[in-house]
């Protein structure tokens, strides 16, 4: 599966070398070759890290872990906030607002559900 992900990335890797020269006026899209490479390093390292962290999970915790990482995937909230808060165009604000709503559901719901699942464990025991 990691191989598949890397395969998806390879077109991107190839293209990185062809990307256009930096647009100095755009601080949020300063994609030059070296910055892109750094982002790719980060992605690869984070992927392996994620893999390693899960290797020894007992089957008991599969479901809470799934729920918790699901909440983390609500990080798309970050992108949605930017889109919703732009000065223009309006269509982006609207789409962004909807995206913010969706992502908030994911984040708030996800962490709350996971907490409820795990809360029982503490209340119970000796």
């Amino acid at each position: 599966m990691v191989v598949l992900v890397l395969a998806f990335l390879s077109p991107g890797l190839l293209l990185a070398h062809e990307s256009t020269p930096p647009q100095a006026a755009a601080p949020e899209h300063g994609v030059d070759g070296s910055e892109l490479l750094i982002l790719l390093y980060i992605f690869v390292l984070a992927s392996f890290l994620g893999y390693q962290l899960i290797l020894r999970v007992p089957p008991l915790l599969h479901t809470p872990l799934m729920s918790g990482t699901n909440a983390i995937s609500g990080i798309s909230l970050v992108g949605s906030l930017v889109a919703a808060g732009l000065s223009e165009p309006l269509i982006c604000n609207v789409l962004g607002g909807v995206a913010v709503g969706c992502a908030m559901c994911n984040v708030v719901g996800g962490f709350a559900i996971t907490d409820r699942m795990l809360a029982k464990f503490r209340k119970g025991g000796r």
Partner: protein, 464 residues
């Protein structure tokens, strides 16, 4: 710059949070840490230069937050997988929408003089990925929700050649992305891609049986993570990339682990139903409906809330050598004030007295063993009936299905309990070789796994 530092702190909290989620004692703390990380990431984003108006943000956050909270609090705990499915789908939708937004901003509206810089070829590529992954996660999760809730038939929906069609569809989408990257295709094809991806989510999940949904949800969770990572590449946002990558790889590995715990391969779960080669879990065609499958954690929760539990041992318990673990589990339940009895059916096991011998060996007090005629009237007052490797002796077909090999045999009225949890290795039939209607009853959930290991997991969960 403080945005970057906050993002760094958030990333660290995510990593530590996931690490803590892998261990029973620290799990709850891990969840809390990850949530804190998310808060930091949000604060950091608020300081982003591009955000100038707050109206839409406020509306979105309040609406989403309230709905999310209500879902977590008000939906019943037994509907947990459904909830996870929905919120995951929404997360995917968010990524997809952001992708569309970026495409509109940087590509489509450019000629009209948008202030956004032009997209490089790389950006086109990752935007395409983001849209594709986000869209298919959204619809896939909704289908998963539908199957779990019974809105869509939980049986695998297949047609011949389905896997080929799905692969071709996927390749076409990848081709679209490549075309968009090289600039050969008009940007309007981003919307075509979005549409195809929405459909693909449905096509991908429909052929998977309801009992396998937990694995599918884990995979879709990984995809929504990858979608978020792709967003990170589009926006050059490091916390998106890190969180998305963590989520993506851990999600994929989790799906593999869950499959292994069910004793099946991932390809079998995802593609196995096509051509009728289902591996065991969804294999019983004669049952009306698909069994609901839960994890040990969920089972432990149901046991927590119970006041009266009846354990129904069968040959499976003997074969697994699980009688000692069962007795320990019963002890833990008793310490919490829960009443525990064992219902011993006259022909449970493979010899008369089979269960008695083993349970005595495990030091279960004789008083806890109750014979069938005495315990049957108690099932309607029982909160949880835990069936451990028993099959024919609690199959309701014995009451009504004339012509069934077990017709007329007196059985334990397990189905009359409020909730039934069945611990079994797979859906294989018992000694009589027939499917068990109890397994698809609405109040019944299957906990697949080896009897002894499952019992030990339950002990661990109940002892925390």
């Amino acid at each position: 710059m403080s945005t970057e530092w906050l993002y760094l702190a958030a990333a660290v909290l995510f990593i530590v949070g996931i690490r803590d989620l892998s261990s029973a004692e620290t799990a709850r703390r891990g969840n809390l840490l990850a949530a804190c990380g998310m808060i930091l990431a949000i604060i950091g984003t608020m300081q982003h230069g591009l955000i100038v108006q707050w109206g839409w943000i406020a509306v979105g956050m309040v609406a989403g937050g309230v709905i999310g909270l209500m879902m977590a609090v008000f939906m019943p705990m037994t509907a947990m997988p459904e909830r996870i499915a929905i919120v995951n789908g929404l997360g995917g939708a968010a990524s997809g929408l952001v992708g569309i937004c970026e495409v509109i901003r940087h590509v489509i509206m450019r000629p009209e003089g948008s202030t956004a810089p032009e997209f490089s070829a790389f950006h086109m590529g990752v935007a395409g990925l983001e849209i594709m992954l986000g869209a298919l996660t959204f619809t896939g999760s909704m289908v998963a929700f539908g199957k779990l809730k019974g809105l869509i038939s939980s049986k695998p929906m297949t047609y011949p050649g389905q896997n080929v069609v799905n692969v071709l569809w996927l390749l076409t989408m990848v081709g679209l992305i490549i075309g968009l990257v090289t600039g050969d295709l008009n940007p309007v094809f981003f919307f075509v891609l979005a549409g195809m991806a929405l459909l693909f989510g449905v096509m991908f999940v429909l052929p998977i049986g309801g009992a396998d949904m937990p694995v599918v949800i884990a995979m879709l969770n990984a995809y929504s993570g990858l979608a978020a990572a792709a967003t990170g590449f589009v926006l050059s946002n490091k916390v998106l990339i890190i969180a998305g990558a963590l989520d993506g790889s851990s999600g994929l590995l989790l799906s593999l682990l869950m499959c292994r715990a069910m004793n099946r391969s991932l390809t079998n779960v995802l593609f196995g139903a096509v051509g009728g080669t289902t591996g065991g879990v969804t294999g019983s065609d004669e049952l009306q409906g698909d069994p609901q499958s839960i994890s040990a954690v969920e089972a432990a929760e149901r046991l927590f809330d119970a006041r009266r539990v009846i354990i129904v041992p069968g040959y499976g318990m003997a074969a697994a050598g699980a009688h000692f673990a069962i007795r320990e589990m019963a002890d833990v339940l008793k310490e919490r004030g829960i009443s525990v009895k064992y219902a011993i059916h006259p022909v449970a096991g493979r010899m008369p007295g089979h269960m008695n011998v083993l349970l005595a060996d495990a030091n279960v007090p004789y008083d806890d063993l109750v014979e069938m005629d005495e315990i049957n009237p108690e099932f309607p007052n029982t909160d949880v009936a835990l069936v451990m490797g028993a099959n024919d002796i609690c199959n309701p077909a014995a009451r009504t299905a004339e012509g069934s090999p077990i017709y007329g045999m007196p059985i334990l009225d397990v189905d009359l309990a409020a909730q039934v949890i069945v611990i079994k290795r797979s859906m294989s039939p018992g000694f009589a070789g027939i499917p068990n209607e109890l397994f698809v009853a609405p109040n019944c959930a299957m906990l697949f796994g080896d009897g002894k290991q499952v019992a030990e997991q339950l002990i661990e969960a109940l002892s925390l």
